[in-house]
Amino acid sequence: MRWFLLAIIGGIVGWLCVQGGPDPRRWPSAAQREFGRMRSAAEEAVEAGKTAASLYEERMERELAAAAGRPGPV
């Protein structure tokens, strides 16, 4: 467990070094910028996923309705 925590902390510090440089004073701004990017990318990905899921379900419903011989969703 200790090694696991050390690995996580080391990973976070390494990621901050990569994003903000070796100067720890730039890490908060770099982390804030990256988290903002991640949030916007995640929101965009979630919207795209919802759209894809709804379109997939509608297409499958149409195919099932056509197979059963009843009118499906328009």
Binding site: E44, A45, V46, A48, A52, E57, M60, A68
Partner: protein, 178 residues
Amino acid sequence: MDFDDLLKLALSIFLIISGLALAYLFLRMAGVFQRVSASLRALTDEIVPILNKAQTTMDGVNREIDRVDEIMVTAVNTTKGAEAAVGTVTSTLTFPIRKLGGAVEGVREAVRTYRARRSADLADDAAAAARRAHEAARRASEAARAAEGAPSAPAGVQDPTASSAAPSTAKVRHASPY
């Protein structure tokens, strides 16, 4: 006996014969009418029960037709119910499959979009870093020229962002099947 008396005798005989013929005719017609009346009575006595039986039969046929109609209505309702039940069962059975497939497709599309967006962000960062490096090199070369007093430009400094001067995209546009 003169001719007048002879005519009267002939007329009397004719009238007597005519009366007898008419009497015979009426007698026969009475018999005929009697037989016709008897026949009609017998016919009536036979037809009325037959008509009653026919009426009873028709009533039974009508009742059976009503039952068949009810059976047909019940069969149609049963068929409709069975069809609705099959549709409901089909929808119920395929609902989890549809939802699961939609979730998988949504997750796949979300991951694809996220990775494309992050790749675009990394490309933007790389382009910005290259621009900064190029700017630093240019300033260094200008400082060196100013120090040496040579007007020629350095040969080793190339613009690393010439081919990708503009940031890749602010909004991710990747090939999506939707």
